[in-house]
């Protein structure tokens, strides 16, 4: 695979959120506004880049049997770095993301890329894959955040876009709005790609998921 393909793979063809449906927890939870969504996306991209490079470097050193705990430790290290950086430089974002920052550790995209890509490929390829997947994740959060912020509070990046005479649909900012928006986006994507996205999910979606062994929908692309 060429370098450019490795990079763009995660952005469109195998978008981790919209096509593979990984990392649903942050996608649903923090996309109440565009700023939160993009902030989470960038933080995750940084962790993904760091962990992909490190795991690729250490792929010959880490024994196969204990690889998952090793990966988790590496990822947790990067998450701690990101968490401290956010707390120091963007305290407002740190506060609004709250508990979801430490939870980047258990984001299945990161462990999934370590399992599926970084432990088999070269350092440069893994770094490109990390950046691509990170941009894809950020893009998905941006879409979710845009829809929910415009409908839920009538603003975009804090600026009023809907006429103030129109009441915002508050429920879009609350939990049900998250599930609903995400469901609609995936349905639209299925329609636009004529079900091709669905097939890709079935083929690749569960290979990197740590839950695959006990998941009933494994291989069907419904997790």
């Amino acid at each position: 695979m060429s370098k450019l393909k490795t990079l763009t793979n995660g952005i469109i063809k195998e978008n981790p959120v919209l096509v593979l449906v990984l990392g649903t927890c942050p996608t649903l939870a923090i996309t109440t506004s565009v700023v939160n969504g993009v902030g989470m996306g960038i933080a995750t991209t940084f962790v993904l880049l760091g962990s992909n490079i490190f795991i690729s470097l250490l792929k010959k050193v880490i024994p196969d049997k204990v690889r998952i705990p090793c990966y988790v430790t590496i990822i947790a290290g990067f998450v701690t770095v990101v968490s401290l950086l956010l707390e120091a430089y963007v305290p407002a974002l740190y506060k609004s993301l709250g508990i979801y920052i430490p939870l980047i550790v258990v984001n299945c995209i990161i462990l999934g890329r370590a399992e599926m890509f970084a432990n088999k490929n070269s350092v440069v390829d893994s770094a490109l894959d990390g950046i691509g997947m990170g941009i894809g994740f950020t893009f998905a959060l941006l879409c979710m955040g845009t829809i929910r912020e415009i409908l839920g509070s009538g603003t975009f990046l804090g600026f009023q876009v809907l006429p103030s005479a129109m009441d915002p649909i508050l429920i879009m900012k609350m939990a049900p709005g998250g599930f609903f928006t995400f469901g609609l986006i995936i349905a639209i994507l299925n329609k636009v790609t004529h079900g091709r996205a669905l097939k890709k999910r079935a083929a690749a979606g569960c290979a990197g998921c740590p839950a695959a062994a006990a998941c009933e929908s494994a291989g069907k692309g419904e997790c």
């Binding site: 449906v21 649903t24 927890c25 649903l28 939870a29 998952i68 705990p69 988790v72 430790t73 947790a76 290290g77 998450v79 701690t80 968490s83 401290l84 709250g98 508990i99 430490p102 939870l103 550790v105 258990v106 984001n107 299945c108 462990l111 429920i171 609350m174 939990a175 049900p176 709005g177 998250g178 599930f179 609903f180 995400f182 469901g183 609609l184 995936i186 349905a187 639209i188 299925n190 329609k191 079900g195 669905l198 998921c209 740590p210 839950a211 062994a213 006990a214 998941c215 009933e216 929908s217 069907k220 692309g221 419904e222 997790c223």
Partner: protein
């Protein structure tokens, strides 16, 4: 006593982990097709939540904080949870094989379940004064997870038989069903405070 009940029911109803905080969505969508596996998974999650709170809370309060190591929270917690799940699996396998057969397959995937790490981190963030309150909170979160899984499993068995438009089949309709279940949980807002006042 009143405080304990408020924490417990807040965890189960108003601050439901899955439907309100979006923690543990993967098992919620992946293992909610059959009732017995939904219940098995939820009981395993509740069990690990309570156990890991019982270990992480004292370690954070009595080891990390006095030594100015609070920033190591994430690494320490995830390693404790991973190790704990392994130990629980081994103990169950050796001493209670019946329970192991029922919960065994769910245990490995709980390590990377955000609900478990989430509850341990939240217990610290909420600043509970003693271990008892933290454990009750973990129990409430686990039972809330169980309730959401069981309810959603029922909803899903209906959705499975419905005639769904092609683009909505699979994940989209499941998510929209989850949105409706989540709306119903919004009805519990303010309920717990109302009962215990």
């Amino acid at each position: 006593m009143k405080e304990l009940f408020v924490i417990l029911f807040t965890g189960i109803l108003t601050e439901n982990f899955v439907l309100n905080k979006f923690l543990g969505i993967c098992p919620f969508l992946g293992v909610s097709k059959k009732m017995d596996s939904a219940v098995g998974m939820s009981i395993a999650v509740t069990f690990v939540m309570v156990m890991s709170t019982a270990v992480t809370w004292p370690i954070y309060t009595y080891v990390l904080v006095p030594r100015d190591l609070a920033y190591m929270q994430t690494i320490v917690f995830i390693l404790i949870i991973a190790a704990l799940v392994q130990v629980v699996e081994m103990i169950l396998k050796k001493f209670i094989p019946a329970l192991y057969r029922a919960l065994g397959i769910y245990l490995p995937l709980i390590t990377t379940n955000c609900a478990v790490l989430g509850v341990t981190v939240l217990n610290i963030d909420k600043g509970f004064e003693n271990l008892g309150l933290a454990i009750v909170n973990a129990l409430g979160a686990g039972l809330g997870f169980l309730l959401a899984m069981v309810l959603f499993c029922g909803v899903r068995s209906r959705v499975e038989r419905a005639d769904v438009p092609e683009s909505f089949q699979g994940i989209p309709i499941t998510l929209i069903a989850a949105a409706i279940v989540s709306v119903s949980f919004m009805g519990f807002t303010g309920l717990v405070e109302g009962i215990f006042q």
